[in-house]
């Protein structure tokens, strides 16, 4: 992994609006020893990305509320003589914090996460590429399904709920058997086939599942006015 410590002067990618309040509202802290200033409401991740620091994420998307599920964005925070790890997507900076992006504890955790992800999503080239970035080439753990590429980050579910508003999919079951599913495991007419889930999915797992999500097109076009088992249009009357 490359340690990017130089500030990218041009074109910050943040969507956040430019400061309108006076300067006292900035929160000053350091990332990798560099003094940075965060706007009120910015998380540590927002600030780091604004300044061009690379923090890996899988379950984070700018348009969605952070949930802190993938834990790849963990950073080490030193404050008042104590060090602790925090999920940067979810944590807000405080004045005087020292943030380390690649401390030993952070690297140790990320390496293990990538090794476990290689076994959890063996079919995903994206995960393999990411793992190589962290120097993890192979895994010692058993892959239960060699075709699996979904890591249960929940981005597809959140975009469907928060942005599209369709709520067509959710998590089924829990714990190690948790998976993305529609109600009763049947294609769901609430799906509007917008493809947002495919667009946000970090591993293209949503693409292979899309046909399991979306229900009958004719049903969707009728906006629920038709009976569930109404005759199909092409079954021509005699």
């Amino acid at each position: 992994m490359t340690k990017s410590t130089k500030k990218k002067a041009s074109a910050p990618k943040k969507k956040k609006s430019e400061p309108t309040k006076e300067k006292a509202d900035f929160i000053g802290f350091t990332i990798e020893g560099q003094l940075v200033k965060a706007m009120p409401g910015w998380t540590i991740l927002d600030t780091a990305r604004h300044y061009g620091f690379h923090i890996p994420t899988l379950c984070y998307h700018e348009a969605l509320k952070p949930v802190g599920a993938c834990r790849l964005c963990m950073v080490e925070v030193r404050q008042n003589g104590a060090a602790r790890l925090m999920a940067s997507c979810f944590s807000y900076p405080q004045e005087g914090m020292e943030i380390l992006l690649n401390s030993e504890r952070v690297q140790n955790g990320r390496r293990w996460l990538m090794e476990m992800l290689l076994a959890a999503c063996p079919a995903s080239p994206e995960i393999q590429k990411m793992a190589r970035e962290f120097g993890v080439a192979s895994t010692r753990f058993t892959a239960e399904d060699p075709m699996e590429e979904c890591l249960r980050c929940g981005l597809c579910i959140r975009v469907c709920e928060e942005i599209v508003g369709a709520k067509a999919i959710s998590f089924g079951s829990r714990g190690v058997t948790k998976h993305v599913a529609t109600p009763y495991m049947v294609p769901n007419d609430a799906c509007v086939s917008c493809g947002s889930c495919v667009a946000v999915c970090p591993t293209l797992a949503a693409q292979t599942r899309l046909d399991k999500f979306r229900g009958d097109l004719a049903q969707r076009m009728a906006h629920g006015h038709q009976a569930p088992h109404a005759p199909q249009a092409h079954s021509a009357p005699f």
Binding site: G68, R71, R105, N108, W112, M116, A120, F171, G175, T177
Partner: protein, 631 residues
């Protein structure tokens, strides 16, 4: 248990004087010298048939045709804590203690004890080390070395009758607080007492309350308080006993908390698997409401507060406070990252205080007897008492309450009566499945929040599982890990994938596969899970593995280097054989072997076919001359 109908429907307690009058009235209706036969109806005794014992006693008393003066009252109470000896029958006021009572013993108890006035010898507790028969409950070592303050009423009162609670001084603390203390003074008292959360984290309760009260002042509106009774640790039943045996202590504590912080609505979150606790709490709520101790205008002080019971649907992780809030709101019971802490933004984004029911049950004691009295119990920074459920390889299994800071060995040896058949325990797992194992070498560790954390374990909610030389640390660590893997909500990757990965390591170890470097790798993985997990379930889950590697590394190495399981548990590494010197050819092993793989003629040496043997260990357990060897 039949619900006792209240004759007080029209009566409301409107002042401390009313409460004192009512207490006097209840006490004056009772004859302190009248014998009371207490039959324990805790869940353990219920399972052992205590309702049948109570019925048999009632019938036996009716048949005996006793004088009206000496007819004993039969009282149904919550758990006495000595669960391995249930059903228990205790004759008050003398405290005559009978254990393992069967319905068939009722006649003899009535005849010998009630009519002739002598104890029934065969039902008395026998001290296992001295063989001495002990007559009274307070002389039994299990009770003698405890300091019961939270549990003091449990086993004395009928939890379904509020009059019993009031007779022993229930709701006095509430009356005192409402009439003489301001809300801030209540918080001050809890802060000064040093009370720390009994559910696991050990956060100072007073400080938490102060934060919530301040937040409410800044942001006026509703505020909620929650009693966390979602006790899910294997082998733990402290909260259940409190809710079943003294529900009013929990209610009074919560009402006091609500008064101190300005909450208007409370919830008690009880797990679905505790139906008796739910029933007793419901009865207690109704009775408290009917007396004006709960609901609108409590004790005519103008303070409104009510409590609702919510049942958990069986997820261990819902004991975690943010997951509990999600569950109460009707969402999936998954933790969310903190901060914001619930004291700032909890239920429906309002300030919320969640305390374990044991913590709430401590609050009335602090208000009633004073913060200094409470702070005088235990050790600095860990004040008061703690209830532990003492289980595993120990003679006296049950619920014990001891002052904080007591050495671990005193709990196991003096109260628990030591390990059956062995001089010393091998390790004690404290803090439930996510706690750690404390080896015998650290037997003098004081049991308080900070000392337990220092040795790599934790107080947790108070489970205490004793292990002996026949318990393999690799196997035990595997067991706890499997439990937590099943109970992981699956939200964050380190917990969902990591616990499975750790288990893969341990599975290999239990088969003798792996290298010493793998042990180091496992430690590194455990540390990564601790560092990266979202909530405390994942953050503490590696503890059993990490502490056992720390304290029993030689045992891990024996699995890998010598391919043996020193405790004789891991099935792939052991073989059963029969010692030709000791075998007397009785044939017990041959008859019980489920595989039929033991052969031998009567009175001749028997042999085990290890190709067929499934290492179930039945022959080992049953052999009358201990001729079966595990290697």
């Amino acid at each position: 248990m039949a619900q006792v109908a209240l004759r007080t429907q029209e009566f409301r307690i409107g002042s401390p004087a009313d409460l004192a009058d009512y207490q006097q009235q209840i006490l004056s209706e009772r004859d302190p010298n009248r014998p009371v036969l207490i039959v324990c109806h805790g869940t353990g005794c219920l399972a052992n048939g205590s309702p049948k014992v109570a019925d048999a006693l009632r019938q036996a008393i009716a048949r005996a045709g006793l004088d009206a003066q000496v007819v004993p009252e039969i009282k149904i109470t919550g758990c006495h804590g000595f669960c391995s000896r249930g059903p228990l029958v205790i004759l008050q006021p003398s405290g005559l203690f009978y254990q393992l009572v069967k319905p068939g013993d009722a006649e003899e108890i009535v005849q010998t004890t009630l009519i002739e006035g002598n104890p029934v010898d065969r039902l008395l507790y026998v001290e296992p080390r001295t063989g001495e028969h002990i007559v009274h409950d307070h002389e039994i070592p299990f009770y003698k070395h405890q300091q019961r303050i939270v549990l003091k009423n449990i086993g004395k009162i009928d939890p379904t009758d509020i009059r019993d609670t009031i007779a022993v001084g229930g709701y006095q603390a509430l009356a005192k607080a409402l009439s003489t203390m301001s809300p801030d003074e209540v918080i001050d008292a809890v802060e000064q007492s040093g009370l720390r959360g009994r559910g696991g984290g050990g956060f100072p309760s007073g400080r938490k309350w102060r934060i919530a009260a301040d937040n409410l002042r800044k942001n006026p509106g509703p505020m909620y308080i929650v009693g966390n009774g979602d006790e899910g640790d294997p082998g733990a039943f402290m909260d259940r006993t409190i809710m079943e045996g003294d529900p009013h202590a929990v209610l009074e504590g919560m009402i006091l908390g609500a008064y101190a912080m300005g909450a208007t609505q409370g919830f008690i979150y009880v797990r679905m698997e505790y139906p008796v606790a739910v029933r007793h709490l419901q009865i207690a709520l109704e009775q408290a409401r009917s007396l004006g101790l709960l609901g609108t205008n409590i004790m005519d002080s103008g303070f409104d507060f009510d409590i609702q019971i919510n049942r958990g649907a069986g997820a261990f992780v819902c004991g975690e406070e943010t997951a509990l809030i999600a569950s109460l709101e009707g969402r999936i019971g998954e933790p969310v990252p903190r901060p914001p802490y619930p004291a700032e933004k909890g239920l429906w984004d309002r300030p919320t205080i969640i305390n374990n029911v044991e913590t709430w049950a401590n609050v009335p004691l602090i208000i009633d007897k004073g913060a200094d009295w409470f702070a005088g119990i235990g050790v600095p920074h860990s004040t008061g008492t703690k209830i532990f459920s003492l289980v595993g390889k120990v003679n006296n299994i049950g619920l014990v309450e001891v002052p904080m800071g007591i050495p671990l060995s005193r709990i196991v040896d003096e109260i628990g009566g030591g390990v059956p058949g062995q001089d010393e325990f091998k390790a004690v797992q404290t803090g439930g499945p996510s706690g750690g194992m404390i080896p015998y070498a650290l037997k003098d560790t004081p049991v308080d929040f900070d000392s337990l954390t220092k040795v790599g374990s934790m107080m947790g909610s108070g489970g205490m599982i004793v292990m002996d030389q026949r318990d393999c640390v690799v196997d035990v660590a595997r067991y706890f890990l499997r439990f937590l893997e099943e109970e992981s909500c699956g939200k964050c990757l380190p917990c969902r994938l990591g616990l499975k990965a750790m288990q893969e390591f341990l599975d290999r170890f239990s088969k003798g596969q792996g290298t010493p470097e793998d042990i180091v790798e496992l430690q590194s993985l455990g540390q990564a899970i601790k560092d990266f997990s979202l909530c405390a379930l994942g953050g503490t889950a590696p503890n059993p593995v990490l502490t056992t590697i720390n304290y029993f590394r030689d045992e891990y190495e024996a699995h890998l280097a010598q391919q043996t399981c020193p405790a004789g548990v891991c099935k792939d590494l052991i073989t059963y054989s029969i010692d030709p010197e000791l075998c007397n050819g009785c044939g017990v092993c041959r008859r019980i072997c489920p595989q039929g793989c033991i052969s031998g003629e009567k009175k001749q040496l028997h042999t085990i076919d290890s190709n067929l043997c499934i290492r179930c260990g039945m022959c080992f357990d049953e052999c009358p001359v201990d001729a079966v060897i595990v290697q």
